[in-house]
Symmetry: C2
């Protein structure tokens, strides 16, 4: 059954957050004397992504946009890496916008344009509407609309997020396909009744990546890149 | 102060709902024996738009998507025009999708593309996310994201809708410009602190239109069309 809409994980699936954030970190510290490993910085920052969202998912904290969590996690990253004295508040606010400047993978834009000919394309990301909008403008991502965590006021992999995307499109979950480079995301989407497609991004975490190198289940589609999914 | 985002009324300002709906009405009744005036039908259908939303705005009814209100109003229109026996449920459901097939005014797409070079462009419409998404695909409207009534769970001109759009973009109202062909929409936006621009659409209601032919206040910008706004 051909999907009527295609919703995508973004961080890792559509954009290369790791090298992009590292590039912005390098710029932020270019005039500083501190010795900073930009890739380690990016990994440490991203390492606090899931724990920060877990507090919202558990109900221990009301929904706050991912931009706010990223900003808090940046403070924590600077503490962890003994860099607390290096960046002032304005510099931190600027660096937090690194998440709005993430480069798409080489096949992302052309793949999305091709899939858009088949049906609605939208992000189903934990990023906020503001973040996804600015990221789309930065990378030329041709979304039809912005869906995801903010319209659900919760974070993936909570079922509420996948259901909110389908509801916003006024489609049954069976008519919607979730595309991700992360098996756990697809497990959650499948449990909600969505179709699933896996696209491996074996360099998301760098050359030594050990997770999500291959599909962990019989997803409806397993493709090498987004162009293949369009076909 | 140059706006960082431009949000637009859609029905009337970006698209010509009246002749487009009339065209779909004509198609729906092409195989029927009933004598139907398509433009009168469109006007009668649209005539129930505001009263239907008023029940939500007043709190008398929880938020329901405009698609649902349109569908209810279609039933009422058929009753009012003595056409209750003409269309079955499936035909009514099909005709309700007329609102997803509204032609943009001649300057809308090129104007939006030009304004998009200056800042974020998004609808601030009473249409649902699903409706705005499908309308954008139909007419090639190059929105960066879909904002409006659904993210506020309320209808314009309630302040909640304008504030929800600014909040979703993480912008102060003063950094956002509302563009509309309806003075009342701009009055509400200005009261929320947004910048305002008026673009007259003197044929929205046909050749005998009497309202919104000219600006009723000193809006920040008054332009002949969207291309002029981009300049």
């Amino acid at each position: 059954m051909t999907p009527k809409a295609y919703i995508f994980d973004v961080f890792g699936t559509i954009v290369d957050w790791r090298t992009s954030v590292a590039r912005e970190v390098e710029t932020a510290f270019s005039t500083k004397e501190s010795d900073v490993d930009p890739l380690q910085f990016a990994d440490t920052w991203r390492g606090q992504y899931d724990p920060a969202m877990a507090r919202v998912r558990s109900g221990g904290r009301g929904y706050v946009a991912l931009d706010v969590l990223h900003r808090e996690n940046l403070d924590e990253t600077l503490r962890l890496l003994d860099l607390d004295d290096t960046l002032d508040v304005n510099e931190r606010d600027d660096l937090n916008r690194a998440w709005e400047k993430l480069d798409p993978w080489a096949d992302s834009v052309s793949g999305l344009l091709a899939i858009k000919q088949k049906g609605i394309v939208a992000p189903c990301s934990n990023g906020s509407i503001a973040l996804m909008t600015r990221l789309a403008r930065y990378g030329g991502l041709p979304w039809d609309c912005i869906l995801g965590a903010e319209i659900a006021q919760n974070y993936k992999p909570e079922p509420a997020v996948y259901f909110a995307c389908c509801k916003a499109l006024q489609l049954d979950p069976a008519d919607v396909m979730m595309i991700a480079a992360h098996n756990s995301d697809l497990e959650a989407a499948r449990a909600c009744g969505l179709q699933t497609a896996f696209v491996p991004r074996c360099r998301e975490h760098g050359p030594d990546q050990t997770i999500d190198l291959a599909p962990s289940s019989d997803w409806d589609r397993v493709v090498d890149d987004l162009s293949e999914l369009a076909d």
